[in-house]
C-alpha cells in the first residue's frame, strides 16, 4: 500500500468537508445575547453588523477547523480510539478502507447507513510493512449523490491502498494532514473555504478509480462495489477504529456536532459576565433637581432680645436646588464628582405694627374729596425672603452595583461661588430693614460669598436603558460660615438636607 496515496485519499475525502451548524445553535446564541445586558465596550460590538458577520465567520471557521480536526483521520489518534499506543498503520493493500467513505457520506449529509460490525486490525509483520487485516469485510458502499462528481473509487491515489498503508502512518491529526499536504505542496487550510474548494476539486474528477488489484470497480451509478478482500481484517486496531467511526456515523448531525463540541475545546476568549460590579472607568453626566429643607441656627450675645425677635419674625417656607455634574467612576470603584449647583432657600418674614394713625379721605363719585377722618390701623408686612447660592460641589466616593442598580456613597466640599438675597429682616430697633443684595448698604445684609461647606450624599441609580439611569439621592449640606455679615453680633447659619432626583447619562 502506498501510504502517501492513502493520505492523499484522506485529504481528498475531507478536503471539501464543511460541517453545517444546526440552526437552533444560532438561535440559542441569539437568545443568550438578548438576556445579557451589554456592558460598556462590547455594547457597540453588537450594534455593528460588520463586526457581527466577522465574528460569525470566525466562529464558523473555528468550528469547522475544529470539526475538521476532529474528523480528519490524522486526528484520529489511535490512542483516542483504541486506547493503544499508536502504531504505524498501512493502508490496506487493496484499498478497501472505509474511512473516506464514512466521512464523505457525512459531508454529503446523507443519513448514516447502518454499518456492519467491522473490526479492523492492524498487524505488523516482523520485518516488513504492517499488514492490515480486516476481520469483517462488510463495507457500506460509498454513495456519491452528485453525479457530476467523479466517482470515488476505492482505488486511486485518494484511496488508501495497501502500498500507501504499508508505506507510512495513517494521518493521526489534522495537523499531520496539513503538514503532509504542505509537504505535498498543497495548501490545506482547515477553513470552510478550503473545504469547499477541495470539494470542488474532487467534483472535478481528480479522484480516479485506480485500485490496484482491486475487485472494486466504479459502477455506472458511481457506486463502489464492496471489496472482496478486507485489507484490515488482520489489524485489530484499525478495525476498532473503523468500528468507532461507523458508530459515530450512526449519530445524527446534531449529535455529531455536539460530540465534537463536547470533546473538543474551542479556543474562544471567555465572554465576561455582564457588569457584575459598577467599577470600570466610566463617565457620567448627571442632571438633578432637589426638594430641600433648611435648618436655621442663630447665635448672638447672651440674653439677646434681638435674637428672639429675629427668630420669631422669620420662618422657613421652602427650599429647592438643582444642578448638573460630571461623575467619573474608576476601575477601583472610587468615584470623583464635580459640577455646578444652584440652591434657593425661601423664608417668610412677618412684621406687624400696631396703632398706626392714618388719615383717610372720602371721595365722592365726582372725584371730590368730601371728607376725611383719622383711623387707627395695623400694618402687616409679609416678605418672601430668598437666599440664593451658586456652588461648586466637589466630592469623592465609592460606587458599587450590579446590572440594574448602582449605589454611590460620596462626600466632599461645597465651594460657594456667589450668594445673593432678597427680602427683609428686623433691625435692632425691631423695624424691617431690607437685605436685598445691591439695594442698600446696611450691616444687616448678608454675604455675597459664604465660603466653604461640607456635603455628603448616598446616590442610588436604577438602570432604565443602556445609557440612562434614574437617580435618587438624599444629601446633606453644612455651611461652615454664617450667611450674614459680621457687622452685627447676631449670626445666622443654614444647614440643608434634601432629596435629589434626576437622570444619569453614560458618556
Amino acid at each position: 500500500m502506498n501510504h502517501s496515496a492513502f493520505d492523499d485519499h484522506i485529504k481528498k475525502q475531507f478536503g471539501d468537508f464543511q460541517p453545517e451548524v444546526p440552526p437552533h445553535i444560532w438561535e440559542n446564541i441569539a437568545a443568550a445575547k438578548n438576556k445579557r445586558r451589554p456592558i460598556v465596550w462590547w455594547s457597540s460590538v453588537w450594534k455593528d453588523k460588520k463586526t457581527l458577520i466577522a465574528l460569525a465567520v470566525l466562529l464558523l471557521g473555528l468550528t469547522g477547523v475544529l470539526l475538521f480536526r476532529n474528523d480528519n483521520p490524522k486526528s484520529f489518534n489511535p490512542t483516542d480510539i483504541t486506547g493503544q499506543p499508536s502504531q504505524n498503520i498501512s493502508s490496506p493493500k487493496e484499498n478497501k478502507s472505509t474511512f473516506p467513505n464514512n466521512i464523505q457520506s457525512e459531508e454529503q449529509n446523507t443519513p448514516a447507513e447502518q454499518p456492519s460490525a467491522t473490526t479492523t486490525t492492524v498487524q505488523q509483520s516482523a520485518g516488513g510493512d504492517p499488514t492490515i487485516n480486516q476481520v469483517s469485510t462488510h463495507v457500506p458502499p460509498i454513495v456519491n449523490k452528485n453525479p457530476s462528481t467523479a466517482p470515488v473509487t476505492p482505488a486511486g491515489k485518494d484511496r488508501p491502498t495497501t502500498a500507501s498503508l504499508n508505506k507510512g502512518t495513517l494521518p493521526t491529526s489534522s495537523t499531520d494532514r496539513v503538514d503532509k499536504s504542505a509537504a505535498d505542496g498543497k495548501d490545506d487550510n482547515p477553513s470552510a473555504s478550503t473545504f469547499r474548494n477541495r470539494k470542488q476539486k474532487r467534483d472535478k474528477g481528480r479522484m480516479q478509480a485506480s485500485i490496484t488489484g482491486s475487485d472494486m470497480a466504479a459502477t455506472d451509478n458511481n457506486k463502489i462495489s464492496e471489496p472482496s478482500t478486507d485489507p484490515f481484517s488482520e489489524n485489530n486496531d484499525l478495525a476498532d477504529l473503523n468500528r468507532k467511526i461507523l458508530e459515530w456515523q450512526k449519530l445524527d448531525d446534531e449529535k455529531k456536532f455536539a460530540h465534537k463540541l463536547i470533546n473538543k475545546s474551542f479556543n474562544l476568549s471567555p465572554i465576561p459576565c455582564p457588569e457584575k460590579n459598577a467599577a470600570g472607568n466610566k463617565k457620567y453626566i448627571e442632571l438633578y433637581g432637589a426638594v430641600d429643607y433648611a435648618f436655621r441656627k442663630f447665635n448672638d450675645t447672651a440674653h439677646s432680645q434681638y435674637l428672639q425677635k429675629r427668630k420669631e419674625s422669620t420662618s422657613f417656607s421652602s427650599a429647592f436646588s438643582g444642578g448638573i455634574r460630571y461623575t467619573r467612576v474608576f476601575s477601583n470603584a472610587m468615584s470623583f464628582r464635580a459640577g455646578l449647583n444652584y440652591s434657593q432657600v425661601n423664608e417668610k418674614f412677618r412684621y406687624v405694627q400696631d396703632n398706626i394713625i392714618q388719615q383717610v379721605y372720602i371721595i365722592n363719585t365726582n372725584g371730590d374729596t368730601t371728607g376725611s377722618y383719622t383711623s387707627t390701623s395695623t400694618r402687616y408686612k409679609t416678605t418672601q425672603n430668598k437666599y440664593r447660592t451658586i456652588d461648586l460641589p466637589v466630592t469623592i466616593g465609592y460606587e458599587v452595583g450590579n446590572e440594574r442598580l448602582h449605589a454611590n456613597l460620596n462626600a466632599g466640599v461645597m465651594v460657594n461661588i456667589y450668594s445673593w438675597q432678597k427680602g427683609d429682616v428686623l433691625d435692632t430697633a425691631y423695624r424691617p430693614v431690607s437685605i436685598t443684595t445691591g439695594k442698600a448698604q446696611s450691616p444687616y445684609q448678608f454675604k455675597t460669598n459664604i465660603g466653604l461647606g461640607f456635603t455628603a450624599a448616598a446616590s442610588i441609580y436604577l438602570k432604565l436603558t443602556d445609557r440612562l439611569h434614574l437617580l435618587g439621592e438624599p444629601y446633606i449640606r453644612y455651611n461652615l460660615s454664617p450667611a450674614n455679615k459680621a457687622e452685627i453680633t447676631l449670626k445666622q447659619k443654614y444647614t440643608t438636607i434634601g432629596l435629589r432626583l434626576g437622570i444619569r447619562l453614560d458618556l
Partner: protein, 330 residues
C-alpha cells in the same frame, strides 16, 4: 414597571417647572388694616366743646383784637383812633376801676371792629337775638385796662364808638353781645336803656353811645311778625356733624348772618326763620382731621311751610386760606 424614555423626558422639566411655579406664587405684601369701628365719625353730640374739630375750626378763623395805648388826663374828652379802625370818644372820669375810682393816665384799649359779613362768621358771631334774626350795621369790641386792671364805664357815664359803614340806617339800636353758656352760641341783646345807649348816624358813620364795653353793635330787627318766614335745613354728608361743622345763612341783600343751629335729635343744621323770598348764601365750614372743608349754596327762601326747606350742600376739601379768602369776600 416599565419607565418609558418619554416619561423621563417630561419628568425633569416638569419638576423644574413645578419648582419655579411654586416659587413664583408667593408675593410680598405690605398693607394696612383699619381697626374695627374705624371710619368717619358720624355721631352728633348734644353739646360740642372746644376740643372738638368744630372748636379747632373756630379758633383757626378767629380775628385778633387790636391793642392801643393812650393817656387820659383828667377833665379831657379824648377821641382815640384805634388800630382796629374803631374810634372811641372817652370823657375823662368815664372809666372807673374796680374800686370805683376814675382811671386817668396811661390806659390800654383793646378793640375789634366787624364791618364785613365774613368777619362775623370768622368770629362765630351771628346776628340774632333769641332765635330771631337782626340786621346789623356793624359791631365792635372795646375794653380798657390800666395796669392789668380791667376798667368799666362809671355810673351815669358813657363812651362813644364810631365806625363807618357802607349803608347807613337811622333806626339802629344798641345791642350788647355775649357768648352764651352753650358753646359756639352767641346772642345779641338789645340794650333797653335807650337814654344812655343809642345810635346816631350822621353821614356814613355810626355813632354808638353806650354805657357798656365789650361787644356792641348797631343793629335792628330783621323781620316782623307779619312777614312770612321759613326755615332752612341742610342736607349734608353723614360725616358732617356738629362735632366738626358750622353752618350759616348769609342774606345777600341784608347784613344778616343767620345761624344754622345744630339739632342733634334730627342730625340737621336748621336756620332761624328767614323772610321768604330773600336770597341767601348757605355757608358750611368744617374741619375733619387735619383738613378743612367748605361748601356754599345759593338759595332763595321759599314760602314758609311746616317743614323746613332742605338745602343740599356738599362741602369739599379746601385750605384755611381759601376759606378765609371766601369769607372775606362775603
Amino acid at each position: 414597571m416599565t419607565i418609558k424614555k418619554s416619561h423621563l423626558k417630561h419628568f425633569a422639566p416638569a419638576l423644574i417647572a413645578g419648582m419655579f411655579l411654586l416659587n413664583s406664587c408667593q408675593r410680598d405684601l405690605d398693607y394696612i388694616v383699619q381697626n374695627p369701628n374705624s371710619g368717619p365719625d358720624t355721631t352728633w353730640v348734644n353739646t360740642p366743646d372746644t376740643s372738638m374739630p368744630v372748636g379747632q375750626l373756630q379758633n383757626a378763623l378767629l380775628l385778633q383784637p387790636s391793642t392801643d395805648t393812650f393817656t387820659l388826663n383828667p377833665g379831657v374828652v379824648m377821641t382815640v383812633d384805634l388800630s382796629s379802625g374803631l374810634k372811641t370818644t372817652v370823657t375823662a372820669g368815664a372809666l372807673w376801676n374796680d374800686s370805683s375810682l376814675p382811671a386817668f393816665g396811661l390806659l390800654h384799649a383793646e378793640s375789634m371792629l366787624l364791618t364785613r359779613k365774613g368777619d362775623f362768621i370768622r368770629m362765630g358771631i351771628p346776628t340774632s337775638q333769641n332765635d330771631r334774626v337782626i340786621e346789623t350795621g356793624g359791631a365792635y369790641f372795646l375794653r380798657f385796662q390800666k395796669n392789668q386792671d380791667q376798667l368799666h364805664i362809671g355810673q351815669g357815664r358813657q363812651i362813644i364808638g364810631l365806625f363807618d359803614a357802607p349803608t347807613i340806617f337811622q333806626d339802629m339800636f344798641v345791642y350788647n353781645g355775649a357768648a352764651t353758656s352753650t358753646p359756639f352760641h352767641f346772642n345779641w341783646t338789645r340794650n333797653l336803656d335807650s337814654s344812655a345807649n343809642f345810635v346816631v348816624a350822621p353821614g356814613q358813620t355810626y355813632w354808638v353811645y353806650a354805657n357798656s364795653l365789650n361787644w356792641i353793635s348797631a343793629s335792628r330787627p330783621y323781620e316782623n311778625a307779619q312777614q312770612n318766614t321759613s326755615r332752612l335745613a341742610l342736607d349734608l354728608p353723614s360725616n358732617y356733624t356738629n362735632q366738626n361743622t358750622k353752618a350759616y345763612l348769609v342774606l345777600n341783600n341784608k347784613f344778616c348772618i343767620v345761624p344754622m343751629q345744630d339739632i342733634p335729635s334730627t342730625r340737621q343744621f336748621l336756620s332761624l326763620p328767614v323772610i321768604s323770598g330773600d336770597q341767601a348764601t348757605v355757608v358750611v365750614i368744617s374741619k375733619q382731621g387735619n383738613d378743612y372743608f367748605m361748601g356754599t349754596q345759593q338759595v332763595t327762601v321759599n314760602p314758609g311751610s311746616s317743614n323746613p326747606q332742605m338745602v343740599t350742600v356738599t362741602p369739599t376739601i379746601t385750605s384755611l386760606n381759601n376759606m378765609i379768602g371766601f369769607l372775606n369776600s362775603l
